[in-house]
């Protein structure tokens, strides 16, 4: 089957998830201050192996570095913790002083895993790196010209450039070059001068409109930047062609997460509860492809059990039949999507978590989906 539901804990909305490098363990947060680790068992079920309990308020994002095996979590309590697994298998935490006075919203490890970026409601992005001498994480701030909450960040493959989406309706690319820990970067399509916090590019999602930016994603080479906004749009900016931006306004509900699954293919998921394919042609134009599953509204509606309930429903809900089940696998908005198997050039399996508390794994290489993918004209 193309989409398989996994049960990782209670059916409480999942805020975010991240996979270990061997993909056997998943870290999830169920809209509370805890981060739970679940390990897949031979039978296919998931057992809870650890609870990471240090945050005081809701955990907003988790990221798991594949090579160094470090987990970073950030929370509404304005803190971030870096977790390292000891020889005994237990996870030990280190507090990171982000020096922000609002909630931390998103966090991502850099490609080389020597830095991570944290977005926050304080209109600041904290770039954190390890000071070897003192063995603690130092945060440097990017402030200008961010005017509102940063909702999403994504790293360029050169480990220096960072894309950030914001609730001021703009997407920006910054340099996070830290001379203490890395060599001077060479020029890219995004520009040549890269002092720390330099604004390399800025894109507005809002010529007529607005729409908070919900997700940003660089492609594999870092030449293109894609994002989704709350005005039900998806856009791609192409650096080599002179920062040309192409935006597509869709007929669907807004998307909340975005992944590159091929050199010209994007997968976006959000309030429609199902991932949708998008194709980007050589000119950068975005076109909508199929949904990963046909949902619509479910066909059978259960009739009320008795006459009394029927009138009760008619009074309370305005209809006799109670049919609140969606036809899609997920029953609530998808807010987090990760590549489970493969990479940005060829993703074979993708995982999604949603407000229904379910983890669903989509097999892009399976029969039905593969047909849809090949049917998408390149």
């Amino acid at each position: 089957m193309a989409a398989s539901i996994q049960k990782v804990g209670p059916a409480i909305p999942i805020q975010c998830h991240a996979w270990s490098s061997d993909r056997q363990t998943i870290a999830v947060s169920h809209n509370d201050k805890l981060v739970e680790l679940y390990k897949q068992q031979p039978g296919g079920s998931w057992n809870q192996t650890d609870i990471l309990d240090q945050h005081d308020l809701r955990v907003n994002d988790i990221d798991w570095a594949p090579n160094t095996n470090r987990i970073v979590t950030c929370s509404a309590d304005r803190n971030a913790y870096v977790w390292v697994q000891g020889a005994d298998g237990k996870w030990k935490h280190t507090l990171v002083l982000l020096r922000i006075n609002r909630a931390a919203t998103c966090v991502r490890w850099s490609p080389q895993e020597n830095k991570f970026a944290v977005g926050s409601g304080a209109r600041i992005i904290s770039i954190c790196y390890l000071d070897e001498e003192k063995d603690w994480w130092v945060a440097k701030h990017i402030r200008k010209p961010l005017r509102s909450t940063i909702t999403t960040v994504d790293w360029h493959p050169n480990n220096i450039l960072l894309a950030a989406g914001c609730t001021d309706f703009k997407v920006r690319v910054f340099s996070t070059y830290i001379k203490e820990i890395e060599p001077k970067p060479s020029a890219t399509e995004w520009g040549a001068k890269m002092p720390f916090a330099n604004l390399m590019a800025e894109f507005s999602n809002s010529p007529t409109g607005g729409g908070w930016i919900h997700a940003v994603a660089f492609n594999e080479e870092g030449t293109r930047l894609a994002w989704v906004g709350h005005d039900s749009s998806i856009a791609v900016a192409d650096a080599p062609s002179g920062m040309v931006m192409m935006k597509l306004k869709t007929n669907l509900l807004p998307f909340l997460s975005l992944l590159w699954i091929g050199p010209n293919r994007l997968l976006a998921a959000g309030h429609d509860c199902v991932p949708v394919l998008f194709h980007v042609d050589s000119a950068g134009k975005v076109s909508q492809g199929p949904k990963l599953e046909e949902g619509g509204n479910v066909v059978e509606a259960t009739a009320a059990a008795s006459a009394k309930n029927m009138f009760k429903n008619k009074d309370r809900l305005g209809q006799e039949l109670v049919d609140s089940r969606l036809g899609t696998t997920h029953q609530n908005q998808i807010n987090s999507m990760r590549i489970l198997e493969g990479n940005k050039v060829e993703a074979r399996r993708v995982s999604t978590t949603a407000g229904d508390g379910a983890l669903v794994i989509w097999n892009l290489a399976s029969g039905a989906l593969a047909v849809k993918l090949t049917a998408l004209k390149i």
């Binding site: 507005s204 007529t208 607005g210 729409g211 709350h230 007929n251 669907l252 509900l253």
Partner: protein, 154 residues
């Protein structure tokens, strides 16, 4: 006799300043230097309607919509004209008209439809509901989401 020393504390106007307006945490809107249109001309619209060119009137009104114009009177006048055009169509012509529009025009039209719902009179809402249905069939919930999120309102 006014004491010269106390001159600067004579006025108590400082007590009435809204300090929250000056908080540095406040979101500062982007200064938009784009020129906005002044809205469609009534004469043009009425002449097109009287010549039975409702679709042209509709396209004219949509092309000249004063999106984001800070002058409320201009936007209200444009709304009145847009509604007049929409209500001048026979119900059976609406579907064909919507088919002739592109996606940008349909987004603007959807904004006018919702604003039209806000000021109902003499069965206008019934006609607007037909418009809503036809535009929705083409542009889906996305156009409705943009009515809510677009900063430049009609």
């Amino acid at each position: 006799q006014i004491y010269k020393m106390a001159k600067n504390t004579n006025s108590t106007a400082f007590r009435r300043i809204d300090v929250d307006k000056y908080s540095e945490d406040n979101y500062k809107e982007d200064v938009d230097n784009e020129t906005v249109t002044a809205g469609p001309s009534e004469n043009e619209v009425m002449s097109l309607i009287s010549q039975n060119k409702q679709l042209d009137a509709l396209k004219y009104v949509l092309a000249n919509s004063p999106l984001g114009n800070k002058n409320q009177a201009v936007r209200d006048a444009a709304l009145t004209l847009a509604l007049r055009v929409m209500l001048s169509f026979k119900t059976s012509q609406i579907e064909e008209a919507v088919k002739q529009l592109d996606y940008e025009q349909r987004d603007i039209l959807m904004k006018y439809i919702y604003r039209g719902f806000e000021v109902p009179n003499e069965g206008s809402s019934a006609q607007l509901l037909v418009w809503h249905d036809k535009v929705f069939n083409h542009s889906g919930v996305g156009s409705i989401v943009r009515v809510l999120t677009d900063k430049k309102k009609v």
